[in-house]
Amino acid sequence: MTTSDAEPRWVDDDAGPVVRPYAMTRGRAVAKNRFNVISLVAATRVAPSAEVGIGPEHIRIVGLCQERPLAMAEVAAHLGLPLGTVRVLLDDLLARQLVRVTEPAQHTNLPDNRVFEALINGLRAL
């Protein structure tokens, strides 16, 4: 799964080489879930300690989503990991019921007008 022919490339100043995420997910590149980038991740309990199958990144996710739920993209940004890697880690956490992930309302059933009005009024008040 690692790309021996590819140099580890630095994607930008604060991110690691792109080969590392595959090691973190123990070679699993494909997650079972297709969570939306704004799916909300919430911890269901306090962060666990390390155990088999639970690495530091798993623990960091549970810790991050303790106080308030974060969008999956926010989790990825805070951890400095690609979305695909975070998806795999979320699979692990869900299997252990350490987080809850809530998908947003889908496009076909847009939120009702009250949501739009709240957004418009909220933006005006910023």
Binding site: Q106, L110, F116, L123
Partner: protein, 205 residues
């Protein structure tokens, strides 16, 4: 200890906020990240999607070499309205060949802002085409770069061959008030479309 625990339990039991998102699209260097940063509560966050073997099963990825790993960066910001509503703004990746990522970002979006620079109007064609094809409501915001020739709104509408109902406005993505106006115009446009009973097609299908 007990106090901490019950506090945490309360947070975890709380009702989740409603999360919605808006896309900010447009050509390279048109001001997408600037607009996201101008209205968001923190400086724009950044995440990446790696396109490699994981992307190959997805049909939209033609044009991306299947073997090498490509990184597609996305900037986004967050605006919370109280505890129960949060708006995320996602800048689409500049390279429009990454339709796979566009589909992922557009899925479930309320609508989109297409930023345009009148010096390079053609750079907005792919964004306009994409949102038209996917039935995602959008507005066009002409970012007023210094020294750029000012085109009239009608000239822009004509050049982009826009549906007459698509709002076109001028903006300065560096200004919070101006960027707020763009988002409010988009939300009003989306609401109006709903009122007319126009069912948006679901993106990605």
């Amino acid at each position: 200890m007990d106090y901490e625990r019950s506090d945490g339990d309360k947070a975890r039991a709380a009702v989740l906020p409603t999360a919605v998102k808006i896309l900010v699209a447009g050509g390279f260097g048109v001001g997408k990240t600037t607009l996201v940063g101008a209205v968001s509560e923190t400086k724009p966050l950044r995440t990446e999607e790696l396109l490699s073997e994981q992307g190959v099963g997805v049909d939209d990825i033609s044009g991306v070499e299947s073997k090498s790993t490509t990184t597609v960066a996305m900037d986004f910001g967050r605006i919370s309205f109280g505890d129960d509503l949060v708006l995320y703004l996602f800048g689409t990746p500049g390279q429009d060949r990454f339709w796979f990522v566009w589909d992922e970002l557009a899925l479930g979006a309320l609508g989109a802002v297409v930023l345009a620079d009148t010096r390079r109007l053609a750079d907005s064609f792919p964004s306009v085409d994409y949102f038209e094809q996917h039935g995602l409501p959008f507005v066009v915001a002409v970012n007023c770069f210094d020294g750029a020739r000012r085109y009239s709104i009608d000239e822009v509408k004509l050049a982009l061959n826009l549906d007459p109902e698509v709002p076109v406005m001028l903006c300065d993505a560096r200004e919070r008030e101006s960027s707020k106006d763009v988002l409010i115009t988009l939300l009003q446009h989306v609401m109006k479309g709903r009122g007319a009973g126009r069912e948006p097609a679901s993106v990605g299908s």
